[in-house]
Every structure is written in C-alpha cells, then in structure tokens.
Symmetry: C2
C-alpha cells in the first residue's frame, strides 16, 4: 500500500467492494480461487505484480523439478500449545531453562516466522490447516472432549485430498483432534494411511491420581468417584478411544486402548509409535516416483510426573516434553538427510496455538499476552519455522503476516495441485510460495480475522488490531492496538487510532458480506466410533450414551 | 553446587560464615580482594578449581599478549533504558518494528548475555561499572536531576584509575550522570580525557513545547511558566550545565551550553560530537604502545519529534533513536577493524537498566516485567553483548548470572591491573574472565543483591529470587520466584518455595554482616560546577541556589 499511487487509489475506490465480493479475474495462479474480501482488494492492487512474480517463481520450481525429478515432498509438523519465543531462539532457551537445539538450528538455517497466525485452539487450527479455511467455515470452531459425537464434515476438501489427486503419497500421524465420527477419520479425509488421536491428551495424562495431583485437578480417576451416593457409571467417559489407525477407504482399528490399567503407559507408547511411523513413512516413500505429504502432529505433552526423570533446569515435565519434541524433530530431519531428500523437502515445524496458561509453572506467556483460546496475540501468534535446504535462504526471519490457512494453498501450489482446490467455497489460504522462495516482505496477506469459537473476536490489518468483542461497558468494540508499539496489547489506543475506526469497520463489513454469500457449514454431528472394527464393550456404552443424548436428550 | 559432594558440604557448614566474613586465603588471582559474603562461600567451594582454571586462562592471555604486543584494549559501550530482547535478536526486531543489524551481528559473532544484571537506574549502574561496587556502597544510589549538588566521591577508585595505574590510555565520552561536583568529574576520576553529560537527557529534550507535547508532560518550558502570579525565577534550573570536557588534572569547560534558543539543537550536536570523539580516540590510540580503555556511554535518546524524520515501522522517535545507536556502534566496530585491532579489543555493548515504561508507546516490557527503577527482572536484566574476535566463540549465549560490577574486576584482570584494585573495601565485581574465554556455564557468580535507591529490595540466588520489600500486608517478605518457570514474576510461589525461606534468610544475614563490617559511604554533597572555567551567569545563579539550599535551607 505504501508505494501505491494516490490517483490509482482513487480509481479503485468505487469498484473495490464489488471486486471484493466476486474475486479478481486476473491471470495469477490462484485467480480461480474464491478468497475473502480483504484478499480480493489486495489482488486488485497487486495482481499484476504478483502474476509477474508467479512466472518467475514457477521457473524456479520447474528448475527444482528438473533437478530432483519430482515435485517437492512436504512435511508439516505441528504440536500443541507453545508460547512464541521459547523454542527456536537460543537466548530464550536460556531464559526458560531448557534447550531446543534442533529448532534453533532450523531457525538459523531456514525461516523463523514472527507473525504466523493460527486459530486460538487445537481443533480449529488443525481444521484450518487441513481445509485452508477459517475453522468457523467448516463448523470446526470448538475444542471437543470425549464424549463428543461430531467432527470434520466429509465434504470438506483437505490438503491430503488435493495432493492425493495430484499423485502425492499422503500420511497422517499423531494428533488429529478432528472428531470421533466416521467421516472425520483421517483415512476418510484423503490420507493414504493414518494413525491418529481422536481427542486431546487430557484423559490419558490425568487418568492416574498422581497426574491429577501434579495439576491439582481432582476427581477424574476411578478411585476418586463419589462412593457414598448413587453413582452414574456413564458420567466419566471411560470408554473413549484414544487412537485409531486405518488406510484410505478401509475400516479403522483401535491401536492401544487406554484401559484403566494401562492408560498412561499406552499413551506414552503412542508418542513413540507415532514418531516411529512418521520416520518410517519417510523411509518408505523417499525413493518413490511420487512425492509425499506427511502431516505429523505429535501429541508431545505428558504432564504427569510419574516415572519421568526431570533433568532440565526448568524442572517441569512440560520443559522435558519440549526437549523430547526437539529430539524427535531432529530424527525427522536426520532421516530426510539420510535419504538424500532434504533439498527436495519443505519442512514446516510450528505450534498450533499459544500456551495453555492454566498449566501454571510450565506453559508461559513469554512475549505476547494471552494463551490458548484467546484472541490476543498470545493465543494465535505461534512459534513457526521452515526448512528447505538449498531453496530457503539460511537465517531468514519473516516479519510478514502469514496464516496457518496459507499452508494449504501454498502446499497445493508447490505440488502443482491448485486445480484440485474447490472453487465453490471461500478458501482463506493464500498462495505464499513467494515467502519461501524469496523471503521476508513477500507475503501476499496484510490481514487476519480472529475467531474464538464461532465469534469473530478481532481483525488484524497491517500492524494494527481491532477487537470486536469485550472492551469497556458503555463503549464496546473500543480496543485498538498498534502491535509494533504494544505487542502485548497492554494499552488500548482508541484515541490515537480513531482514524482506524472507519477503515476497520469497512474490513468487517466486507468480511461479513462474503460470509453471507458463502454461509458457514454447521457443525456436523453423528454417532461416534462407527467404522471401527475392534470396538471394546465400554466403548459401545460410550457410543450408546452419545447416541441417546443426541437423539432423545435422555 | 549440583555436583558438590554431600560430605564436603557438611564439612563446610560450620566455618562457612566465618569464611564469608573474612574472605578466602586461596591463591586465586582475585584472592586479595574483599568480596561480598556470598562470593566468599563460593570461593571456599570452588577456589581450587578456579585457581587451576585461572592458570590456564593466564596462558591464553599471555599468548594474546605475545601475539599483539600489548594487553587488550577495552571498549565499554552502555546506553540508557532498553528492554531485554528487542535489540540483538532479529526475530524481536520484527516484532517491535525496527532494526538493529549491528547488535544482532554482535550477538551472532560474540556473546549474547541473558542474565546480565545491572542496578535499576542509570546513575547507580554507571557508578557500579566505574567502581565495581554496589552503588549503595558509594552513596550513588539515586538518580539526581538538576539542581543537584552531589556526586561520585573522590576516594572511590574507578576502573579508569585502576587501568591508568597499569599504563592504559583512558577516555570517557557522553553520559556520566555521576553528579555535578568537581570531584565527580570524569577527568578527576581517572580518565585521561573526557567529555560528558552531568545529568540525564530530560532537560534538553523537553525544553521545547513540542517535546513536552510528545510526552504529554507540561510546564517545563519558559513559555509555560505561571504568569498571573509572582514567579520564582530560580525554580526552573535554566542555568544547568549539560556537558563539560576536561583532561586529567585540568580544569573543565562547558561545551555546548543548553541555552534557551539552542537547547535541543545543542543536545543533538552533542550526540554526534560524543560519537565522533569516541571514534577519534580509537583512531588516535590504536597504534599507541599502550592499550586503551574507552567508556562510551552515549545519550542516544531524543524523544522530541521536532525535525526528526520517522522511517521505522514502529513509528516512534524511540525506535528511530535505537536504530541510530545501532549505526553508531557499527561505526565503532568498523573503526576497530579499520585499525586492525578488532582481535585485541574486547567490546561490551549493553543497556544500563530496563525501559522507562512511563514513555508509553515506545519503551516496552518485552520479556520481563518491570522497568527502570524496579527490582523486578525488567528493571535490572538488560540487553548485553560482547565481541572479541578470535577469542570469544561466535554465537555464544551466556545464561550465567553476570553483573555489571563484574566488568570492573574482569577489565582489571585483562589489563593485568588487579594489584591496583583497593583492598580496604568490598568489591562486588567478580573476575569473570572465564566467561569471555570459555563461554557459557563459566560464571563465578550465582547470586545478585538488588537495591532500589538505598533499599535492599530483593536477592537472587541461582534460578530463585526472593523479594524483601512489598508483598501482601500481614505476610510481608513473601514473594518468591522461580525465574525459569516464571521469568515475568507473575506468580509468587511462596508455598512451593518455603524450603528456600531459611536459605534466603542466610543469604541476607551474611550480606548484612558484611555491610556492617564495611559501612556504606554516605552520599557526597557539595557545591556544583566548581572547577569549570567558563561558567555562565545563569549557571552561577543555579550554583548559588544550590549552595544556599544546602547551607541554610533558604
């Protein structure tokens, strides 16, 4: 915008909203996609420049194709709840008392993102990465816990489906958290093979009394049930299923049941098992004639001290877990090296949202305020790194706005699979290939809409942020921030930013108009655990409880 | 401590306090110095190991001496009020919207300190650096403003005196803030040559009405005086002297008087003039047969927007000023390269304390809470970097506790001038040569006593911190922190750290016992501006006002 001529801006003013609602007809690679209103305005302003740049980028991608004989492999590693700063920057490791040498090296040799925005919690961010759409569009805006009975709708077109259609080998390992209904299973959502957790890590960690003690929660374990009065045996969802595996089009099987006597042990085995499977997948597909896409979203956390030797200065299981994650990522990168495919593989390593600040003494608001579930920067601005040897300029620090949704479209572009992205719905993800190939200042996004659950909580435009909810009684919608001057959002600057009131109103109106044209998909409900071959008796009780609740309210 | 055997600890228990109060008699280089009690306990535990290490270090220093034909030059650059993190780490530059490439490179190629402790404000930190002693010991514990009438006592032995005695060329440029009495002038405190500011930057920046507008202060400028009633013409210290220069043993001269019509202009000229003099000193002494010690403590800040072109994304004069500082440090480093002496020069670049958080929209609590004047980490844990090409391992990140006081003793060691450090008083500074030569984990300090003004506010031991003042009514002295788990000191953990109550009490008792044995020097008062040859009439009025107030209270 800064370099945009005034007379051109004047010409733009009239047709701008129309353009925003229809999408641009320029010849850029992503021209056919339906983007959100704000992006269409940018396309109108920069379309010509971007189309030209796209031509140059394509030449570089073609040269890579020629060199390696296939399109690039893509590895997307994403873990839970991590505060920006404390991984990937050695000085911050020292402040927090633990070490992440692998991620630090990844930052030194690849890209460190400083404005990677996600949704504020795990289910929405994962849905966003899978679909390239704001989670609110697919109904995946809440974090579900067992018992659930909902999940990612089958008609969503995941990145696995997009890349599969273009010939990629695809696999998913570890935490999906995309629901417990059959259509939501990862092997029913485009992945050739998958082993994955249906929910979050809470149940296995806290099944044991000592796990509860560590967190000062209470009453989840069987021993702690109320025994003096009548006790509803279906209230605690003991029949929940932690993890299943399946192959595209096939039935699922539960892997390691979190039974009462082996819940924590099995959870720990799962962490290692997912890691091994991820490494094994790379090994198996490295020499394949087709490239691969691997989504490895490890469970990572085990906040139960039982049997864990704590050796970090930070002296919390959390820090210990992060160090293990770092080693595990190191194994992935080492395998790529060993197979000789590091130069033809883009690796993304990132958190899915900010820290769960309720885990006191461990997860922490280092640089931004707010944590998981929060529309403040601390909830949505995450640690994120990229490696692509020989392609990404080492030590690149990207200050651009980037969104997890953009990975969808960018992966599709890199995989020459843009034609498989649906064009009947809004795709929030922007093709950000230029950022990977040309570095800082190349983002094609200058905005981000923050939803918490189904609520549009804030909008970010350039260095400014306006909060749509909360604020002072009597003068609502009044929180304006300059994120360079006040990255922790400590001091609303409505008075200084009254100029931005109208422009932000326009941003929201454009967005609302697009949402009206392309309505959100309601949350998909269903009976959990269908399509699983080896269902346990207690899981059938669980299933029946959910079915009855949904159908009769009983 | 972690590797310390239990039986040895038991043996230590009885004589520990005695040792603490007398100092160790070991053969270590710094054995003759009187250190604080806590250090004497460490000396008792590690004296033998350190003595052995000192021998190895000396061999390396001797080899350097042989290579360069003289002892190392030392450049100590120190500026005001800067929040940890936002300089020296590129990812944080992006977050704050300004760039410090020189300091980032210094971190990449030298040492980044993550626990460099200072005193919480400028006068005390500068006194601490000059004397190697807690500022409270020299009476320099408050920040003075004109009119003042006090300053650094002549009997303090500064690092300039120590290194001068060992043959170093010494110079001081820019902000001293060590008082306005003759004995406190830098050229009377051991520096061969000096040009320096007596006070802080407040008066020249805010003399103009537009400077006041920027900060929303009011009433300092002449136009804003109360005109409807009788007006005391001595109330505003218009006769204050911003900057003087002098040579060792000679008289001083005021340089650029901050007269009403040229205060801001002259202040800006001073910033450039000090910078030029610092570079020129390096140029003049580079080839001298003796090494040099340069204290360059630039004024840096100019928060008055008048005539400043703002080009940083952060859009504040503060950010603009920091970028200029970075360029200025770049010129210093370039001159060392140009003169071919970078490999024989230790450069320290650091802030003197945390941000003045009252400067809203500019100075900021990025990583730690608290700012200037505060005993919390944000007040005392500063950005700090070291460069010594060929000696310091590139990319070293030091998580050790280090204190600004330690530079005094370390510089003396490097300059082979330990014998000139006085042995009739407590020297808080520890010889930290090992940190520069051998890197992280080599600090000989595991504690720090935090004073705010004359008040002992907190003590830090290892990763723990106990606050001695404030806290909840009815249960005072109750704030305990684990700084790895809670670097922002958000959540006092008294319950979890009841074990540390007694040990911290012991730390304080030992410290208090030493303070009783070696009492603090009272703040030195006197008539300001004596020894200045070209005193202006209005400065004589100022001088007389102070003299009368001190002598008669009138």
């Amino acid at each position: 915008m800064r370099h945009y001529k005034h007379n051109t801006l004047a010409k733009l003013a009239a047709p701008a909203l129309a353009v925003a609602l229809t999408g641009s007809a320029s010849a850029a690679t992503s021209a056919k996609l339906i983007h959100d209103a704000e992006q269409n305005l940018l396309q109108e302003q920069f379309g010509e420049k971007w189309a030209k740049q796209d031509g140059e980028l394509q030449k570089r991608l073609d040269a890579l194709y020629k060199k390696h004989g296939k399109r690039p492999n893509i590895v997307h590693i994403m873990w839970d709840d991590n505060s920006f700063g404390e991984v990937g920057i050695k000085a911050f490791n020292k402040i927090r008392g633990f070490d992440t040498p692998v991620l630090n090296k990844m930052g030194d040799e690849g890209i460190t993102f400083t404005r990677m925005y996600t949704e504020p919690s795990c289910t929405p961010t994962r849905a966003a990465a899978l679909t390239g759409r704001l989670a609110v569009r697919s109904g995946m805006y809440t974090v579900a816990f067992p018992p659930e009975g909902s999940g990612l709708p089958g008609e969503e077109v995941t990145i696995a489906e997009v890349l599969s259609a273009a010939g990629y080998n695809t696999a998913f390992f570890a935490k999906a958290h995309q629901g417990d209904i059959e259509e939501s299973y990862m092997h029913n959502q485009g992945f050739d093979e998958a082993q994955f957790s249906l929910y979050n890590q809470f149940p296995p960690i806290f099944w044991h009394a000592d796990g509860e003690a560590g967190m000062m929660t209470n009453g989840y374990t069987p021993e702690m049930t109320e025994k003096n009065y009548l006790v509803d045996s279906t209230w605690r969802p003991y029949g929940y299923i932690m993890d299943i595996e399946g192959k595209k089009g096939g039935k699922a099987r539960e892997t390691l049941p979190p039974t009462l006597d082996a819940t924590l042990e099995n959870y720990r085995k799962l962490i290692d098992m997912h890691q091994e499977k991820a490494v094994d997948f790379i090994k198996r597909k490295a020499k394949d004639k087709n490239p691969f896409y691997l989504a490895y979203w490890p469970n990572v956390y085990d906040l139960n001290r039982r049997g864990q030797e704590i050796t970090t200065s930070n002296s919390s299981p959390f820090a210990q877990n992060i160090e293990r994650l770092d080693r595990h990522i190191g194994e992935i990168l080492a395998e790529l090296e060993k197979q000789g495919i590091a130069e033809n593989t883009l690796v993304i390593a990132m958190a899915d949202n900010g820290p769960m600040t309720e885990v006191v003494g461990a997860m922490y608001q280092n640089v931004f305020n707010g944590g998981k579930g929060d529309y403040r920067e601390g909830g949505i601005r995450v640690a994120a790194f990229a490696q692509w040897k020989g392609v990404i300029e080492p030590g690149t620090v990207v200050g651009d706005i980037f969104a997890v949704h953009d990975l969808y479209t960018t992966f599709a572009r890199l995989g020459n699979a843009m034609e498989h992205i649906p064009t009947d719905r809004i795709i929030d993800g922007i093709d950000q290939t230029a950022v990977f190939l040309e570095g800082d200042g190349q983002s094609r996004r200058d905005y981000y809409h923050v939803y918490t659950g189904p609520v549009h909580a804030a909008s970010i435009k350039q260095q400014y942020k306006r909060v749509w909810i909360g604020g002072r009684p009597g003068l609502v919608k009044n929180d304006f921030y300059n994120l360079y001057q006040d990255p922790r959002e400590m001091r609303g600057m409505m008075a200084q930013m009254l100029w931005a009131w109208g422009p932000f109103d326009m941003v929201k109106k454009r967005h609302d108009a697009m949402n009206k044209k392309y309505p959100f998909t309601p949350t998909r409900h269903g009976v959990p655990f269908t399509g699983i071959e080896n269902l346990r008796p207690e899981s059938k009780v669980y299933q029946e409880t959910v079915r009855k609740t949904m159908n009769t309210g009983k």
